[in-house]
Symmetry: C2
Subunit: 437 residues, 2 copies
Amino acid sequence: MTSRAVCQQHGNTTTWIACQPPDAVVYPQSTGDVQQIIRICRCRGVPIIPFGTGTSFEGSVNAPFGGISIDFKDMNKVVAVHAEDFDCVVEEGVTRNQLNEHLRDRGLFFCVDPGADASLGGMASTRASGTTTVRYGTMKDNVLAMNVVLASGEIMSTSRRARKSSAGYDFTRLIVGAEGTLGVIIELTLKLHGIPEAVSVGVCQFPSIAAACDAAIAGIQAGISFARIELLDEVQVRACNKDAKLGLPETPMLLLEFHGTDTSVKEQSERFGEVAGEYTTSRFEWANHPDERSRLWKARHHVFWANKSFMPGADVIVTDVCVPISRLAECVTETKGDIERTGLVAPIVGHVGDGNFHCCVLVTPSDVGALKRAEGFVERLVGRALAMEGTCTGKHAVGQGKMSYLEPEFGEATVNAMREVKRALDPLWLMNPGKVL
Amino acid sequence: MTSRAVCQQHGNTTTWIACQPPDAVVYPQSTGDVQQIIRICRCRGVPIIPFGTGTSFEGSVNAPFGGISIDFKDMNKVVAVHAEDFDCVVEEGVTRNQLNEHLRDRGLFFCVDPGADASLGGMASTRASGTTTVRYGTMKDNVLAMNVVLASGEIMSTSRRARKSSAGYDFTRLIVGAEGTLGVIIELTLKLHGIPEAVSVGVCQFPSIAAACDAAIAGIQAGISFARIELLDEVQVRACNKDAKLGLPETPMLLLEFHGTDTSVKEQSERFGEVAGEYTTSRFEWANHPDERSRLWKARHHVFWANKSFMPGADVIVTDVCVPISRLAECVTETKGDIERTGLVAPIVGHVGDGNFHCCVLVTPSDVGALKRAEGFVERLVGRALAMEGTCTGKHAVGQGKMSYLEPEFGEATVNAMREVKRALDPLWLMNPGKVL
């Protein structure tokens, strides 16, 4: 397809970065198709941009040098479920909700849950994580193996289905997070987990964002086993209330979930209630009904759209950083001060168990001054995180938006080594060029 | 040092592979020393072999092309413990027992426990794992970041202290398991865990090795949270009895550990008792006294030496494979049949929660026929694991001993890509040459 609308749609969806459409979009039906596309592109020096669902935030699917967008929507088969081994094999284009629908009656689930219903190939490419990462890990921890089409057109199998291996270089982890710059993922073997016997969900309000962070940190340090521990600042709660009619008190809040047996879930949540009591006078409240639980988590996963409608007509500049948890309260508090001083509207929502939080800066596209202020804010936010031994992105990846922070984060020697590895696997620099490096 | 004895000792310790001593051994005191050594070696084309404690099984510290062995015994400082972030920073030469001694009064521990008291740099290099991997993961999961001296002499920082990141290529995981062939690790940031509130240890005998495997698999599938689940076959139990005077019934056995709160440990272990009851008439017995617990686990960690003394004068050919757990009972049973048919003595001990098991083949060095039979046995064992979607090594790494299995395991395209990456980071091929690739 080369129609203007289709190309436009493949350069830009949820990102604030200007759209750079590809020259054409192709829809492979098989591994053989992907190999053929890549071989043709290689002969003609045409850039290759893999496309899952286009829900990335940092311009990962843009085509700054033109080229072919490979849309994997038709490669969406669940190839195999090995229930006895807690793993499955899926094609690149299967989305996380599609997989979880498929798994539900087997008593299994796939754990990584970024907000969007992203493709699993895309989630691997950006090293995605989500609300359950505090318990189950990121994509790095949940991809067992992949088949990847290399720049040569050959297929690389990164690993085997065994749970662990000491054989050879860990190319699974090299491809996870490489954002399509080293090869194109076509198939993934993923770890699965048993749906927990018991789940409990609770909310707890705090007098300040620092108190909420400190309660989360104290809970982790007390060894409490959280399945999810999400922070929403009062602005975010207000946006969610408005969008989903939650009727929550508009103060900083933690939204928590525990997984286990009836006994262990009860024990863990009671313990957290005790810990939280040191930081707030609000009671820790349980959502006992499954409908209420799913309403709360749906609202949480929907924050991007809630924020978009919070300031009608606004663009959302979504950014994220991650710091060691001991620095989290300080980093979030300073960031909130910065938002106020800069005169921006920017709800904060965070996976505080990992030290990771997002700011969704709302900017009216015509307000050039606000856009400039937002850019300055993001730059200071990254600087603050790096100064606290953190990273410029905990889960959104580098794409185009954070390329300039790679060297401040890693140093010149490391970034040069990354370039050498890129050149080794993609000598013509055709795999998603203009991203990461 | 260039004395014959010292060089000899740095080529060979616990491996059955013939010793190939380096030309000299150096003992750096600082990062600067390591950089200088590597720069000198690079100018003169001299191979560089990093040496931790020399406890690897596959010839990783041999010097097939001569060169300099860099012994890290003097770089053994615990640089920092960040208790509030559950991490620490250590120099390459710190051993796991040294670190755990250091951490004990902070209520923290480092979880990866291969049998030997290996250096943490060596453990990262071989992507080591151990008895607790079923719960806490391998070195891949427990190294947050590293400083690595590259072949150029420059220092590469692979990541930050934040718990997760989506920034750049995952060079932490590229270096973990690279066996010193891409650079020399000098410093590691490691994840720590809280010492569990409650620990329970139990043993359970089974009528056959298949029944023991099946009970382990059923326990995992029932969602029981094991901290350790180790299989010993009757030959291994006999060797441990002889060595450590354990007085255990000489039948296949599982040795288990649960970590958690008093309540959760009780619940999990009772559940396993029920599951195990389907596979054996033996009772699941608890080691309630800490002394008894530590005696059992000491014996388990000591199997290499127990096996060595089981057949006086014998060499121990230690090998390991890992398969998806659904294939474990079949793989272990076929392997035991092979041992019997081949007329070898080879105790089996396994981390069955991961699908990983070891065979310790005992061979009198003068018995050339037995050595040949042992080599044939290892080859068939690897072939069997690969045919079951497994790997040629779950935790011992490739070294020299398993290089020929890399292509059967990964395929030509992947191994070629590994070679390209090696060439990109080590163009003169001086970093631990003759290993892995």
